[in-house]
């Protein structure tokens, strides 16, 4: 087991295209890091550079204190779980699990013991003599994970391992991956484009965009204090409302509405205002309010999403189903829950307020 240090790593393709642009991440021993971002943000390229499947154009990757830039994938002491599982179709499950150990000259008795242990942990013992094609998607996924854990590597690398599974299975496998990682305590890097998967799995999230890191932080830090409009709109569902407003002293003007901030604003002039859908509530009588012209309502059961317009800007509000909805709503918000971003470049202005219980990673007993 070991920490991983990524220092100023870049991937530059022929023609000068930077797929990954000087990324630095310090990963502690046993930490579960999720790289998240839209397609083409460089997250898979970064993972493949750590694995040794892609060359590193610039910067340094070290695993457990050893610089691995020039090492073969096999020498880096990592194991990888692929999106399409990449199980060897002509080998049985047992042979799939044993392949890496055999290549390393592990004694037969130890291979047997380790395969048996991994199979028991993943509940695939009864499938050991089957070929991968005789297994379901979820079972194949377990075998792929088994192949990673039998090797007892310094780190697990996951490349969108759940994206080929159906929605229900994805949720249960997500839980299993998390549980397994806790139990083994192996440093893990997990790539996904699914922000929900990222939120639920990560000790720390790394949000990537255009080959650069937008933000690194715990899921709740990233959720409650997004570092940029990109992170704000990418993390969370529904996406954070981003509307343009103007700050004057301790007042915020959004279209026709004016909100009293109760304190000096962190900036003045035009800003992009970020508002989480669930932070908006109905205004009490006499309270300063945002008037919302309702366009349509999405019923989700536990809550309903009301889409409408404030002035000429789109806004989404999450409300309890108990509230009656007319053609117009008056909305209010706690000023502390407002996020401000620079109009130019979209970087965050001012500190975010992360709820007190959110800052420490939630450690659950297995």
């Amino acid at each position: 087991m070991a920490g991983i240090k990524i220092a100023g790593v870049s991937k530059i393709y022929a023609g000068g295209v930077k797929a990954v642009n000087s990324v630095s991440i310090d990963i502690a021993d046993g930490e579960f890091i999720v790289l998240v971002g839209p397609s083409g943000c460089g997250k898979s390229t970064l993972l493949r550079m750590i694995a040794g499947l892609e060359g590193i154009s610039d910067g340094e990757v070290s695993i457990g204190g050893r610089v691995v830039n020039r090492m073969e994938p096999a020498e880096r002491d990592i194991a990888m779980v692929f999106q399409n599982y990449a199980l060897y179709p002509h080998m049985t499950v047992y042979q799939n699990l044993a392949y890496g150990l055999r290549n390393r000259g592990t004694p037969k008795a130890e291979i047997d013991a380790r395969v048996a242990e991994a199979a028991r942990m993943l509940e695939i013992t009864q499938y050991l003599e089957r070929k991968p094609r005789a297994l379901s998607g979820g079972q194949r996924q377990r075998v792929a994970m088994g192949r990673a854990i039998v090797r007892k590597p310094a780190a697990f690398l996951f490349d969108e391992p759940l994206s080929n599974l159906d929605a229900k299975l994805r949720v249960s496998m997500r839980g299993e991956i998390k549980r397994l990682q806790r139990r083994l305590g192996t440093t893990s890097i997990y790539v996904t484009h699914d922000q929900l998967e990222a939120m639920t799995l990560a000790d720390r999230l790394v949000v990537l965009n255009g080959g650069r890191i937008e933000q690194i932080g715990s899921p709740l830090e990233v959720y409650h204090a997004p570092a940029s409009t990109f992170v704000a709109s990418f993390i969370g569902s529904p996406a954070m409302n981003l509307v343009s407003g103007e700050l004057h002293g301790n007042r915020l003007a959004i279209g026709p509405a004016v909100i009293e901030l109760g304190a000096q604003a962190p900036a003045s002039g035009p800003v992009t205002v970020g508002i989480r859908a669930e932070d908006l509530r109905l205004a009490r009588d006499g309270e300063a309010a945002l008037p919302l012209n309702v366009d349509y309502v999405e019923e989700l059961g536990a809550q309903r999403l009301v889409h409408g317009q404030v002035g000429d800007q789109m806004l989404t509000v999450a409300l309890s189903p108990a509230i009656a909805i007319g053609e117009q709503l008056s909305l209010a918000i706690d000023p502390a829950r407002l996020h401000f971003f620079a109009v130019d470049g979209g970087r965050r202005i001012g500190e975010g307020s992360v709820p007190a219980h959110a800052s420490a990673p939630v450690a659950q007993p297995v």
């Binding site: 096999a74 194991a79 990888m80 692929f82 990449a86 199980l87 002509h90």
Partner: protein, 309 residues
């Protein structure tokens, strides 16, 4: 060739999920099959039936009188040491050509598969021999190995080997093996290359992470995954050496010296066309057909079981 092509269409069908189509009209499927059936009937079934019929008959060279003789031709063939020799010779020839052309085809495919940019150029160059007519290929190698003017005997002489395939039977056999294999390497190469390129990249990457070097990856991952292709090519190559190598033999050694390169298919031609012994020639071609049928059957029945994954 229509016979061989029908194999080509079967194999991909077995690998992919076949979709069942139903026709509205009962006549349409037959109509669509008619051209192929017509060609098969006229150019394959009919001549084959003729061969079976005349293998039981004795006919004078001018076709004026015909007598039914039963299994006489077959009986004589198995008592004829020349025929048994030709049978063994064909076995040597078939095994050598198949092994040589498949190993070389695979080696070239593995080499080209590693290339990124120049792959297409090499592919084109390596496929060229397949476009060369068998007779031309035979003549080409005959020139290269010609004992008085050829390039190869000149070099072989320098390392102490005297080459003269007009006198040395073993050397004549080596010559036709090289010529026949050379033509077939292209075909094997193409299929092996397509097979190698369809092995998912992520499998290779997973194996690399699992501590398997390039050579080991080739033998433990690529080669087993190629087994359906290998099996298919094996059958095609055996068929090729049994039937389609006549022009090569005819253009290089003419079956000689002293029958040293007279394979079964060449003996059919010699006895039938040159010797005008039509009955015996027919019996030989029927036997040749049966040998290929039995081999193909055995291959499908026993070898194919082990290529499934």
């Amino acid at each position: 060739m229509p016979v061989l092509l029908s194999f080509v269409r079967q194999t991909p069908g077995r690998l992919m999920e076949t979709k069942k189509t139903t026709f509205d009209s009962r006549l349409l499927p037959y109509l669509l099959l008619a051209p192929q059936l017509f060609i098969t009937l006229v150019f394959f079934i009919w001549p084959a039936a003729q061969a079976v019929k005349s293998s039981f008959e004795r006919e004078d060279p001018f076709g004026l009188s015909t007598a039914f003789v039963g299994l006489l031709h077959y009986q004589r063939l198995f008592e004829d040491p020349n025929y048994i020799d030709a049978l063994l010779r064909t076995a040597v020839f078939a095994v050598s050509v198949t092994a040589l052309s498949m190993v070389l085809g695979l080696a070239f495919a593995a080499a080209v598969d590693r290339l990124v940019r120049t792959g297409r150029v090499y592919t084109t160059l390596l496929v060229w021999p397949y476009a060369v007519a068998p007779v031309v290929a035979g003549v080409l190698w005959w020139f290269l190995f010609n004992s008085t003017t050829g390039l190869m005997p000149f070099f072989l002489e320098k390392v102490g080997i005297h080459w003269d395939h007009d006198l040395n039977g073993t050397q004549a056999m080596i010559l036709i093996i090289i010529a026949a294999a050379w033509k077939q390497v292209s075909y094997n190469f193409l299929f092996f290359l397509a097979g190698l390129q369809s092995v998912p990249q992520s499998l290779m990457e997973a194996a690399a992470i699992d501590g398997s070097g390039p050579v080991k990856r080739f033998f433990t991952i690529s080669l087993p995954l190629l087994s359906p292709t290998t099996f298919f090519l094996f059958i095609i190559n055996v068929n090729y050496t049994m039937f389609d190598t006549f022009p090569i033999v005819d253009a290089t050694t003419v079956g000689g010296p002293a029958q040293a390169t007279t394979t079964l298919v060449y003996k059919v031609y010699q006895d039938g066309y040159l010797g005008l012994n039509l009955g015996s020639s027919s019996a030989q071609s029927v036997l040749l057909m049966m040998i290929v049928m039995v081999l193909t059957f055995v291959q499908f029945r026993y070898v194919e079981r082990r290529v499934q994954y």
